[in-house]
Symmetry: C2
Subunit: 217 residues, 2 copies
Amino acid sequence: MTGEQTEKPARKPRIRDAEATKARILDAAKKEFAKNGLGGARVDDIAEKAKANKRMIYHYFESKEGLFQTVLEDAYLDIRSAEQKLHLEDLDPTAALEKLVRFTWEYYLKNPEFLTLVNSENLHRAKHLKKSEIIKVSSRKLVNLVSSILERGVKAGVFRDGVDPVQLNITIAAVGYYYLTNRFTGTIIYERDLMAKDALEQRIQFNIETIMRLVTV
Amino acid sequence: MTGEQTEKPARKPRIRDAEATKARILDAAKKEFAKNGLGGARVDDIAEKAKANKRMIYHYFESKEGLFQTVLEDAYLDIRSAEQKLHLEDLDPTAALEKLVRFTWEYYLKNPEFLTLVNSENLHRAKHLKKSEIIKVSSRKLVNLVSSILERGVKAGVFRDGVDPVQLNITIAAVGYYYLTNRFTGTIIYERDLMAKDALEQRIQFNIETIMRLVTV
DNA sequence: TAAAGAAGTAACTAGTTAGTGCGTTAAATG
DNA sequence: CATTTAACGCACTAACTAGTTACTTCTTTA
């Protein structure tokens, strides 16, 4: 509908570029939603940061919630696709699991907006995610990935039998997510700078230890 | 200042009762902040739910943020005091640790507002908690509690040496917190009702297993 | 019982905020 | 080159929202 012949032109920098404007809005919205939550985010601020007119937001995304939904979907698709790119099936079970734990931690660390977006979505009882079929499909792949790592480990005699892949998946996420999403209150409660370089290094080692001990025979 | 002679009268139900009004406001505010976050909460709604006039909120708590800070402080003090009441020092190390894991899980389960309040506070980079000295003091007690359980376990030969009590504390919270705060997105991602009775039972068992394997020799 | 002080209320303000109506301008098309 | 289509922007509105002003009513105490 938008441009059949004009697939990826990138020939000359167009002054009017729908895709580029859309991308700028999404980028600005991601930051704004992550910083202030869905309720706290301001549409005017998103438009300004995106160097777009507010009218464009409503033209491309219908509403503030429509924009949030797209931002959230994109965020989930990004982490799910990055997980697939790890090619864990090529590694032995122990190395594969350790790599997944490390990847999850580093992804959260490099993309703190992801954590806040997920928190915001849960505050709204996942009403936006519910509508998205593609998220379910890509999540299923992640569970299957962990399932097969576990199976291979059991066969190789390095992992114990009976570990639920969903519970393991949740726990891998949990030990990183909690630490990082609560880094501000955590720094006060535990009277220790949780984001100091050595603190982060100590935590990822602890997380690997936690997960490995959980699955090992 | 408010009433020296009238310490806990409870003689006749007063039509005008400052303490009762204050309590109703705090209760309504806790629910409203938990449901909608600090930004999404509406002062008018809090007043209405509390069956108090909005002016009273500003009289007792100065501002919306002042009210939020009091709600948050109260929430932290409640869980910290409940932890102390477990008297874990009277149990053997293994039983004490298991009881703490179970308590933490059940507290989150029964008080989901706590999770949302903490999330909201982290969205605001812990600016309200920073001001509270009493929170630091009571948190220190929790870390000391876990420290002494670990120490006793090492001496008894049931726990391994070198486990950082802060990391352990964080992990005990993490495995419950993540599961419950993300119960809405989780139910979609993992295509499983995470709040079903047997799912909850399975999770607490998994959490105990995770923590026990982490500290055992 | 009169005076003082505290508890409580209605109505308002000044500033925001999501969302729109309508016109303008650039690019594609025949 | 004329016409259509899509990108873009200004200026507005209707509803909302934190916080306040000015007042009434109840309770305590000298």
